[in-house]
Each structure stands twice: as C-alpha cells, then as structure tokens.
Symmetry: C2
Subunit: 110 residues, 2 copies
C-alpha cells in the first residue's frame, strides 16, 4: 500500500565508518532485521505496516534500534530472533514487548 | 537529545540505481533537504525534533517525501525552499502546511 501507512516501523540501518567506537546498526544486522520484519509481516498476514530503513536513531551502542509510529514505542538491541514476537504481540496484538523497550538514556546528547 | 524524541521527522533519502523510471529521493536532493531541516531547526531554536533520513517512503514519483510523527502528517515534493515555512508553521506552530500535504494515491501498491 502507498503512504500514508496506518503503522510505520523504522529499523536503524545506519552505517558508520569501520572502527567507529559506537559501532553502527548496519554492522549489527539492521538491514537483515528489516527484511526479517518484512518477511514476518507477510507470514502473519499483517497489512498496513511499513517496515522502513532509517538513518541513525542515536542508540547505536545498544544494538539495533526500532521505533513504531504513530504510537512511538522504541525498542533497543532487537535481533532477528525477536521479530516473530514483536509482530505477533505488538503489531498484531497491540501489546508492546516490554523486555525489549528502550531504557532511558542518561546522556543529554549522544 | 537521545530517543525517544517528542517529534520525529523523516526525509526520504533513498537511492535507486541510475536510470530508474521513478527516480529517487537521493537524486532529488533528499539528503540536502534533511540537512536543511537540521539547520533550520537549530536556527529557529526548536528542541525535541529529530530530522532523520529514511529509506524509500514509496512516493518517489512526487519528489522528496517527508513524514512527521507522532502526528503522521505526510508531505510530498518538498524542497529546501519549503523548509523554513514547514519548521515555523508545523513544527513550531502546530499547523501542517496544507499546500505540501501528500495527495491520496490511486495505486493500491507502488
């Protein structure tokens, strides 16, 4: 479906130069994760959710970041093993997956 | 500021291969547009808005697409000349800029 999407999921796929101290979501599998979301959304027959790549979501040091709009639920350290549960619980069931929720940051600017 | 951001603006910066019939937002200045938003948000002293790059937002044939969450307002064909108004009216004033709003699509899948 074309935009506007009823729900819009962004996966950080940002790529930093090799050796960056924070690492980057591209090197942590961000792009693979995005494809896993697309595949799983299809597999579970979910319509109206776009799984998009995004530039830096500024949580690189915590593994791959994901945010779901319009509800604005953030996840950190998401891996392919989490995708089935995220789709079933959050995107189908409307229940965010608490164990993966992004923890507050103490830095004021990252 | 780190995530979660009170407001999150995505600019399509998707790059397609040369000669793609739809064109792509990278070739239409998506990345420059994103920097213009960052610059203008700073210039107008706006806090709490992240101007992010995004992969394909599926409106390539209409110029650069922008979406603002959590309100889910979509814009099409945005240029650098529009940025000051978008920041002042929408991101500061809370009034979406109607002339730039994305028009409905007739295609069911793009």
């Amino acid at each position: 479906m074309p935009p506007p999407y009823p729900r819009h999921l962004f996966v950080c796929t940002n790529r930093r130069p090799e050796g960056s101290p924070k690492g980057c979501c591209a090197s942590k599998g961000g792009e693979d994760l995005r494809f896993e979301f697309k595949k799983e959304l299809d597999a579970q027959g979910v319509k109206g959710v776009r799984a998009n790549g995004a530039g830096c979501l500024d949580a690189c040091e915590r593994g791959v970041a994901v945010v779901v709009y319009p509800e604005g639920v953030w996840y950190q350290g998401v891996s392919k093993d989490d995708v089935r549960e995220l789709v079933r619980e959050h995107l189908v069931g409307g229940r965010p997956v608490e164990r993966l929720r992004m923890k507050p940051f103490e830095r004021s600017k990252g």
